[in-house]
């Protein structure tokens, strides 16, 4: 069933069906933007990469063959764009993308607001605390934590997105959890 869906998606992408693309952008906007925020740690960059990712999707739509989930392909494109940009900005090892640069702006996603003012304030405080903590977790760990525990992706899918072996993904997850746990102030969240 899922395979049929992805095959249908692949055919639609191959035709560059504008309605399908509209629907995909709508459907994946939150997840893609959140991923880019966690990857870049910066809203403006995330917004630029969001646009650029969809441009790449349409340009490379013929490359999606439906064997993988669409989101894994989408996130791989987004990730490659960020890495290319990082390489051009500061030619060095890819791992440096994952450690916040000295001059990099702070991790700055803002919280969402949907509930009552009180609930909103509490939620915002909690989100802000978690986000501040996440900003101190190296991006290499932040990325896999987000893919595993927010996107609930399988280890294999994370490995395909990050281009790392599953053993590396696991090791990053263990270290990420450790880092997050150590930073979590008791009773604050």
């Amino acid at each position: 069933m899922i395979e049929d869906d992805t095959q249908a998606l692949a055919r639609g992408l191959n035709r560059r069906d504008p309605d399908l693309l509209d629907r995909l952008i709508e459907e994946y906007q939150y997840r893609l933007f959140r991923y880019l925020i966690y990857l870049t740690g910066n809203r403006e960059h995330a917004e630029d990469f969001f646009q650029e990712t969809w441009m790449r999707v349409i340009e490379r739509s013929h490359q999606y063959n439906g064997k993988w989930k669409f989101e894994a392909w989408l996130f791989t494109i987004a990730r490659n764009l960020v890495i290319d940009w990082q390489r051009k900005k500061k030619p060095s090892s890819l791992d440096e993308l994952m450690a916040p640069a000295d001059d990099a702006p702070a991790f700055e996603p803002a919280a969402v607001a949907e509930e009552s003012p009180f609930e909103r304030a509490v939620q915002q405080q909690s989100d802000a605390t978690v986000q501040a903590l996440l900003g101190r977790v190296p991006a290499v760990f932040r990325e896999v934590l987000m893919l595993r525990f927010q996107e609930e992706m399988k280890l294999e899918e994370i490995a395909s997105i990050t281009g790392a072996p599953i053993s590396t993904v696991k090791s990053r997850l263990y270290r990420g959890i450790e880092a997050l746990r150590e930073m979590l102030p008791e009773g604050r969240i």
């Binding site: 952008i25 940009w85 987000m146």
Partner: protein, 158 residues
């Protein structure tokens, strides 16, 4: 209790979350350990709390984010369709040109030979002329395609 046992317990706590599964023997060992170890129970709670916080964190989307992307993508799709049509035309013209070139090659060869003979041009020279007659248009077309690709490459923002 030894430090090794606490370390094993904490590894298993994390493993259950990372891999989503524990071997039966490990699960039983962990449950037994947690019954008698407050520090590891606390660690399990902290891990759960950290991951629950991570899951519940929300991000505010910039206003009009999807709409802007949809507009850009539609424009790009139109561009690509137009370019695709242009490429098809280029291929068709190239195909016809190649077929005509092949079909007319014997006559062109004879023509070059005739000119070479009557104008007293050495054979290597008129053969070179024949080769260039074939190669120059193809080289010019390839150059034009490469230049257009380079322009596209330079325009890419990242």
């Amino acid at each position: 209790m030894s430090e090794d046992m606490h370390a094993r317990a904490r590894h298993l706590i994390d493993q259950e979350r990372v891999e989503g599964i524990l071997a039966d023997a490990d699960r039983m060992w962990l449950a037994e350990h947690l019954r008698g170890c407050d520090a590891c129970v606390r660690a399990a709670g902290e891990t759960e709390r950290a991951l629950a916080s991570l899951r519940s964190t929300r991000i505010e989307l910039p206003r009009g984010l999807a709409r802007r992307a949809q507009m850009s993508v539609r424009l790009r799709a139109d561009e690509l369709h137009e370019r695709g049509a242009g490429r098809k035309l280029l291929w068709a013209v190239s195909g016809v040109s190649w077929a005509l070139g092949v079909a007319s090659a014997p006559w062109v060869w004879r023509g070059f030979a005739w000119v070479g003979k009557h104008a007293d041009i050495p054979k290597p020279l008129w053969v070179l002329g024949f080769v260039l007659w074939w190669a120059v248009p193809a080289l010019l077309a390839a150059g034009a395609v490469l230049a257009s690709r380079k322009r596209e490459w330079d325009q890419e923002p990242y």
